[in-house]
């Protein structure tokens, strides 16, 4: 926090690219709605929300993005592309699965697992390789 805000109150100042900050300084991100505390004295050009080496977020992160989708596949696995997320701050939730129209009755080996494989990929897998399965999911990313 700046000298002004320490004495007169108010919100922390906005982070400024290239400025030098002492250890413990608190600044508002220019990207996220959160405040961050400097944990290593120095300067940088990366917003605190993307610079976990030099800044730490104060409080819990709010939701940054929500993506939803449906993957349809008949083999034992399939992938889907999503907008890039930080995997460390993201939660993938399965919303259920059904057999696609025209395929056979749902079988035990059609139970489908989904995994956030990397920042832009969701992978769905099942043991059965006959029925076409539609699996729905929701991907939530926090700051």
């Amino acid at each position: 926090m700046s000298i002004d805000t320490e004495f007169f109150g108010g919100q922390p100042p906005r982070w400024v690219s290239g400025a030098t900050y002492p250890f413990g300084f608190i600044a508002l991100s220019t990207i996220s709605p959160h405040s961050y505390e400097r944990i290593v004295a120095g300067a940088g050009t990366t917003d605190p929300s993307a610079d976990g080496t030099n800044w730490r977020r104060l409080g819990a992160g709010s939701i940054k993005s929500i993506q939803r989708g449906v993957i349809s596949f008949s083999g034992s696995s399939a992938t889907a592309t999503v907008s890039s997320v930080n995997t460390a701050n993201s939660k993938l939730t399965p919303l259920g699965f059904t057999t696609n129209t025209g395929s056979g009755a749902l079988q035990g080996n059609d139970a489908t697992k989904i995994v956030l494989t990397n920042a832009t990929t969701i992978t769905a897998t099942k043991v059965g390789a006959i029925n076409t399965i539609d699996v729905s999911w929701e991907l939530e990313e926090k700051w």
Binding site: I66, Q67, R68, G69, S72, A78, T81, V82, S83, N100
Partner: protein, 54 residues
């Protein structure tokens, strides 16, 4: 703002519908008007047209 895409497999068949908050630039991601799951399994023939497989 939301963006909706139909993702194609190697045979131009729709394998995934995506509802996201950012644009994706990829030859396999076709921009669509809504998260229309009825497109799953259809074949993309170009210029925004999807056809049921024969």
């Amino acid at each position: 703002m939301r963006y909706y895409y139909a993702e194609l497999d190697g045979s131009s068949k729709v394998k995934c519908i995506l509802d996201t908050d950012r644009q994706i630039i990829s030859a396999s991601m076709i921009s669509i008007m809504s998260a229309d799951a009825s497109l799953l399994g259809k074949i993309y023939v170009g210029e925004g047209v999807f056809e049921a497989p024969e």
